[in-house]
Symmetry: D2
Subunit: 255 residues, 4 copies
């Protein structure tokens, strides 16, 4: 359920809506929009009575949300998500490019690539300091050293950093360097990690899992957004199918 | 590469093989078998010279391993893995049943089910205290309370407990109750967690990921075994395909 | 809809049920069972009134069929399909083996294999005279010559022949030699061919298509059975998935 | 193997190349291009000696083709296929729209749609007179009546007709009306039908099978082209995967 209020509702009215929600054993989520303020509700809906909310001051409308995901649905927030990262905008009608190598391999490599990106007007460097690998014996990234190079290149060249966070124990270190935290395909359903990255309040680049449905991708985004972090970028990188001519098979959406 | 030595090799000979491996920037893994002692080697193989190992005392044979996975290959350990859990054996020619509900729901439910299993000669109860759920709003298990019920039923009824560990922060608590730690399909490629559960030295029930190849499943087992924990049970629970008549499509192996 | 009558219903009563069905613009299908005679109905159901059928003489019961497939459903025929091919029975509690090479390659090869099968108590030889191949330049079978060898081996060794029919123009020639007609995975949805092989009244071995659902397999069987040919053998040969460790991924049914 | 000759090679020289190919038990295929004439070769390559062909008059180059498909490879014909259907061009840099309903349902429906397409500058109407259906009881198209309406709309409105051919027995009738013959996804590996439609010399719209790899799609095109019909339009309509949010999952090609 979604309670729609005017943007200039007095704080007192907002709080009384939120208190009423809490008294029904649910959790309120404030979602400020361009024109209106929405209060999302999650939890058991059996004690929520639409008419009672309509009687509260400043409440304009009450909407039922029918999807399994709530906070990420268009019913909760009909406008596009637009994320401003140090002046560069992602979303809306902008085409923003994020580019870079798979992994940070050396100081020279990362400065070389970042320099070329900047020259071409690209403001986001993506490179992994920590790499998830199916084999325990494969190169797993330069780790702390990799983060150090990313931190240096960010300061010296002035480019935004997108880099993957692999597990709970390295979130703080990675979040210190990253402007956008990447969550990899293999971790798309690592719910503990989703909640932790949500709490950082950094923008999150969430990659679709190899066998995840679109609904599951949205539900994983919901885990992040339920931590009041609305800055989620969905990364459609394709799914695993029998076709091996392309690495993944990407869904192609029309309309 | 795999160095085969006789089981009664003097400690001194074993150590000199291990030192030679370490001097080549590789890691030795002692794997005691029924008849022989194998020393597995992981790491960059370029400095390893087969003939040099054959000259060392007590070394009987040197075998190249050609798979991406090493420690879990039949070349490293040709015998079946047989795991003895408090007297009940899993593996070999035994058919051992692990049964139970999806989740621990109440004290009564879990005592009721465990009692019936015992009556029917089943020595393993599987039930989740922590449940991974695609929606953040779905029931996620009774958590600590669930572990408490499992601990009680184990003591009072005398049944082994198999339960899932979801993340690094709850491993210690779960491992205290569980006789076998379950790693769920969504976490099959959560490598940090694989290493952590490996360190517990508890038997691990590793579920195949929904879109994991068999090679990837074996590589995930390799993460656990590389922590010297050889007690891995592979759980073939099927993969995700277009077919919805069955929940998953399970591979069917012949021969 | 399915009209159940006693097996010894007078012909006159059966005909009046069939006439009533035809007068509703539907098609009746007589399905004799072990204990009862069922009359299946296909076509638009809007004019069929259950109560009217119950009033007709010898009618014992009227059952609604809710699946997309009708004639192959358990509602239409609850007993197992048991096919007697020259004295050897397929279906029921029998385990019957059909074996042989991919293709007929030579007279010697086919006599050699058929002889060994017979020695081992196997009464069905499967071998392709016509082979569907994804490349137009690959070996497509010995064709007429292959059929000739199959005909010879059948006469001289006394073994039943299972061989594939590829297209409408060779059905007659293939059906002359084959005891069971095989319909390959690539032709599972070649509906014109399904109807034609149905008309031969030979038993049909219908292979599941590489990406066919079980429902689609049953609907393809329905095409054959709608030609009054009830002798369909479903061949579950697996589906195409991302897993390449096994050639196909076969569904595994429980219960 | 591919023999490259100049476009103005004397007929006599072309014939001696073709005779040499035939004498090696292979089949020559003349493929006239914009600048050069290529002679494609299919069949067993063991007797073909590159150097011997280079000695023949007018031969400029000899190229090995390494793919399983020959005639449809870029090595055989490096230019794009451009098909001119009564003045409207498909292929190259043109964006040509083919539109229409699933099936011909009535005379009015088809005239109405064709009229609107023409008004919008669209010169191709696609509609099925014969429809392949997974259920034998579903609507299978208006058949001959449908073809008649398509023939009428073509004459009166002056629009090109794209319609599906389902089986060998209706090819002649369908080809009389159709400007482009459609081969459906379920028939992509119906090789007898591929050869038959190839012989019509009509342009063929070949739909990718639900579980066909791209290589298999190209090999099916090869069946058509091996009948000297080079006018094949590949229709990438997606493959069947676990994702049900979109009807099919279409491959997305980069570069």
């Amino acid at each position: 359920m979604l309670i729609i209020m005017s943007l200039d509702s007095p704080r007192h009215d907002i709080e009384s809506v939120k208190n009423k929600i809490a008294s029904c054993n649910c959790t309120p989520h404030e979602i400020p929009g361009a024109d209106k303020l929405a209060i999302g509700i999650t939890g058991p809906s059996d004690k929520l009575v639409k008419e009672e909310f309509l009687l509260l001051p400043s409440v304009e409308e009450v909407i039922r949300v029918t999807k399994k995901y709530k906070l990420v649905s268009r019913q909760m927030k009909s406008e596009d998500t637009i994320i401003n990262v140090n002046g560069t905008v992602i979303g809306g009608n902008n085409l923003t490019i994020i580019a870079g190598p798979c992994a940070v391999e050396s100081r020279d490599q990362i400065f070389d690539i970042a320099g070329k990106l900047k020259e071409n007007g690209i403001n986001f460097l993506r490179a992994g300091a920590y790499k998830p690998r199916s084999s325990p014996y494969a190169f797993q990234g330069l780790k702390e050293k990799g983060l150090e190079y990313l931190s240096d290149v960010k300061k010296e060249i002035g480019i935004n950093i997108v880099t993957e966070v692999l597990n709970q124990s390295t979130i703080t270190a990675v979040a210190e360097v990253a402007d956008i935290l990447q969550l990899g395909a293999r971790n798309m359903q690592n719910y503990a990690l989703l909640e932790e990255v949500g709490k950082t309040q950094k923008p999150i680049l969430l990659k679709r899992g190899m066998s995840a449905t679109i609904e599951e991708l949205l539900l994983s985004a919901e885990y992040i957004v339920s931590q009041q972090n609305f800055n989620v970028i969905l990364c459609e990188r394709g799914i695993r199918t029998f076709e091996t001519a392309t690495r993944n098979t990407r869904n192609w959406y029309l309309g």
